[in-house]
């Protein structure tokens, strides 16, 4: 594990790193609040936090337009927030309220914001892969220059649908970015006990460009994602991006992670993209006051969102049951 921190090369670079840091911090703070709300039973069901993995959606989203589409995962809060989802609607959804972005019908695993091109989070591992591929087909036929981003975990690599869609995207030249958030785990099992393929070589077998980036370093991810996406806007072909990240929390919130080696857990702090970015920002002269202001700003936003969500009514059953079909 390299300890070199991202060098902030210039003022402009510092601004960008700060923006990335802010985006990651916002996701972190929101999820920490979700964790608390869950522990307090204000959020029901089960939720999967992406704490430790914030760099990937933040970095990718920097290169996305509103009209680009994304398929998110069960661990997709960061993916949604980075794409720009409204925080109150997001929190209210978790809390099962009428003002939730999905009017309380979906929950954490089904967060979607159609206006932002969200094809939805997905409770099915690999479920978003074909949706994103199909969305890329629509973009291609519309000739609009948009692209689709398909987020998925390393566990989803074992699902056949990934193979099917990688083939299709390569065969038909579809502008879909397959973005693998590789946290080394699928639930309670290490991914290397579940999947033995090389993603790089799989992409290569279909002639699809592949790039790796260390999720510890948000600037590296931003650069690599930027290169791939710029290329995709040009040549309208698929690409694969793999980022190593760490899953700080359990598989689901409340998972005690007994199956993880304490020694490994102890090392996680060193693999925190936020700590890394903050270190670099500090080195570039950003002072504590600035960080504190950032935090305060975000906490205030979250407080407001939670308060608004709490105040929102619970959804009406009759209305929900009448809304199974889009056809009136």
């Amino acid at each position: 594990m390299s300890k070199k921190s991202t060098p902030a090369r210039s003022g402009q670079d510092t601004d960008m790193l700060l923006a990335c840091y802010r985006g990651m911090l916002r996701i972190r703070k929101v999820e920490q609040r979700l964790s608390k709300l869950f522990a307090d039973k204000e959020i029901p069901g089960f939720i999967h936090l992406s704490i430790g993995q914030e760099s990937v959606p933040v970095a990718i989203s920097r290169h996305l337009r509103d009209t680009d589409t994304i398929a998110a995962t069960h661990r997709g809060h960061g993916q949604a927030l980075a794409k720009g989802i409204d925080l109150t609607g997001f929190v209210a959804e978790m809390m099962g309220r009428e003002h939730g972005i999905c009017r309380g019908r979906g929950g954490s695993m089904h967060i979607a914001d159609a206006k932002l091109g969200m094809l939805g989070a997905n409770g099915i591992v690999g479920g978003g892969i074909s949706l994103a591929t199909g969305s890329a087909l629509a973009h291609k036929l519309a000739g609009n220059g948009d692209l689709a981003v398909c987020y998925f975990g390393d566990g989803a690599l074992a699902e056949g649908i990934f193979h099917e869609c990688l083939n299709l995207a390569a065969l038909w030249s579809l502008p879909v970015l397959f973005a693998c958030e590789n946290n080394g785990w699928g639930e309670f099992s290490r991914t290397d006990r579940q999947f033995c393929g090389s993603l790089e070589r799989l992409a290569g077998a279909f002639g699809v460009p592949y790039r790796y980036a260390d999720g510890l370093d948000v600037i590296e991810v931003t650069d690599v994602a930027g290169t791939l996406i710029a290329q995709m806007r040009e040549d309208r072909r698929p690409a694969v991006l793999e980022c190593r990240v760490e899953r700080f929390h359990g598989h689901y919130e409340g998972d005690p992670q007994k199956y993880r080696d304490p020694a490994e857990m102890a090392l996680l702090a060193e693999r925190d993209p936020l700590a890394r970015a903050r270190q670099a920002l500090t080195a570039a002269g950003v002072d504590t006051a600035r960080f504190e202001a950032l935090e305060a700003e975000i906490e205030a936003e979250i407080d407001a969102a939670v308060a608004e969500a709490r105040a929102a009514p619970i959804p009406d059953f009759a209305a929900a049951s009448a809304d199974v079909y889009a056809q009136a």
Binding site: R105, A112, D113, G120, G134, S135, A136, C165, W172
Partner: protein
């Protein structure tokens, strides 16, 4: 009225829908240059081109999944599953993705896809190329399921299906493709959930759908010779189905037989019978009898398959039973 084949009516509906709406695209295995395994899409690739008609790799999960994703991004894809039996490979996209997206996302989105799936036996194609699995889909909230029997209905229901904002399973019996029927000069879209009285009668209501209609008509003719006047209701839509229409017929005849090619147990007929045993209970003068395929995989040998497929004689026996 001209005569048109059932398969041609489907092809015409596809063509007219594509003409009317540039967002309609076709996805399926061998549907392009080759014109489809049953010739239903013949000429469409040549007419609409490679940007509208897509030969899909042999990967049914991706086929329906990409259709759903394209629909979420504004297209209106019609996906062909070559044999309904292969829906087994695409169930996640149909059931967990397409059917639920509108609801789960709080009404923000719609998934206007049509999945065309040929079902049915009679061609000695064996257990993996003959199944009638419509009951599965009728059980899934968010899906619409239709199964036409005539060229006019095939056309009209397909136009409605393609125009619908919701995912539709459009089921076509492969034994019907070559069958000719009357076709109106100006064919109309046919709304979901409206049954058609294929034959008016006073003594017993036979509810059916798809290719079984023709066996029902034969049985009705034979029953007439025995003095039994059969009313035939062709459901056309299975989800939603025309409960009011069936009930109205039952209220006239007071006897009900349900007839379909699918395996009887846990088939579509079970729901019709169950509803009528509830809301139609006071109208019933006889047991509700269902006639469907026996509980076995579709056998290959011609004599076995003939014995397996529900036919007019089994239906007639059921009609006579409820008249006894």
């Amino acid at each position: 009225m001209e005569q048109l084949r059932f398969g041609q009516a489907i092809g015409k509906a596809l063509a007219d829908a594509m003409e009317a709406d540039p967002k309609v695209i076709l996805l399926g295995e061998d549907i392009g240059e080759a014109g489809g395994p049953f010739g239903v899409t013949r000429g469409l690739y040549q007419r609409f081109g490679a940007q509208r008609v897509f030969d899909f790799p042999i990967s049914e999960a991706a086929l329906v999944g990409t259709a759903a994703g394209a629909a979420l991004s504004g297209l209106r894809p019609v996906a062909e599953i070559m044999f309904m039996d292969f829906c087994t490979l695409a169930m996640d996209a149909i059931v967990n993705q397409a059917a639920k997206a509108h609801f789960m996302f709080g009404g923000q989105t719609a998934v206007p896809i049509v999945v065309r799936a040929p079902h049915g036996g009679g061609v000695n194609a064996g257990a993996q190329h003959s199944q009638c699995l419509e009951a599965w889909f009728a059980h899934v909230p968010g899906l619409t399921v239709v199964c036409p029997a005539t060229p006019a209905d095939a056309y009209g229901l397909l136009r409605t299906a393609i125009a619908s904002p919701d995912p539709v399973l459009y089921i076509e019996n492969k034994a019907l493709y070559a069958r000719k029927g009357e076709f109106p000069d100006t064919p109309a879209a046919i709304p979901f959930g409206q049954a058609r009285t294929a034959r008016a009668g006073r003594d017993v209501t036979v509810v059916t759908y798809g290719a079984a209609l023709y066996q029902a008509e034969a049985a009705a003719t034979q029953a007439a010779e025995k003095g039994i006047d059969v009313e035939i209701i062709d459901l056309r839509s299975l989800q939603p189905w025309d409960e009011a229409g069936v009930l109205a017929s039952l209220a006239r005849t007071h006897r009900l037989v349900i007839f379909h090619e699918a395996v009887e147990a846990f088939g579509v007929g079970a729901e019709i019978a169950a509803r009528m045993a509830d809301v139609g209970f006071d109208e019933l003068d006889a047991p509700i009898v269902r006639v469907g395929a026996p509980f076995m995989p579709t056998p290959y040998a011609p004599n076995l398959e003939s014995a397996f497929l529900p036919d007019a004689s089994r239906l007639l026996a059921a009609i006579e039973r409820v008249m006894a």
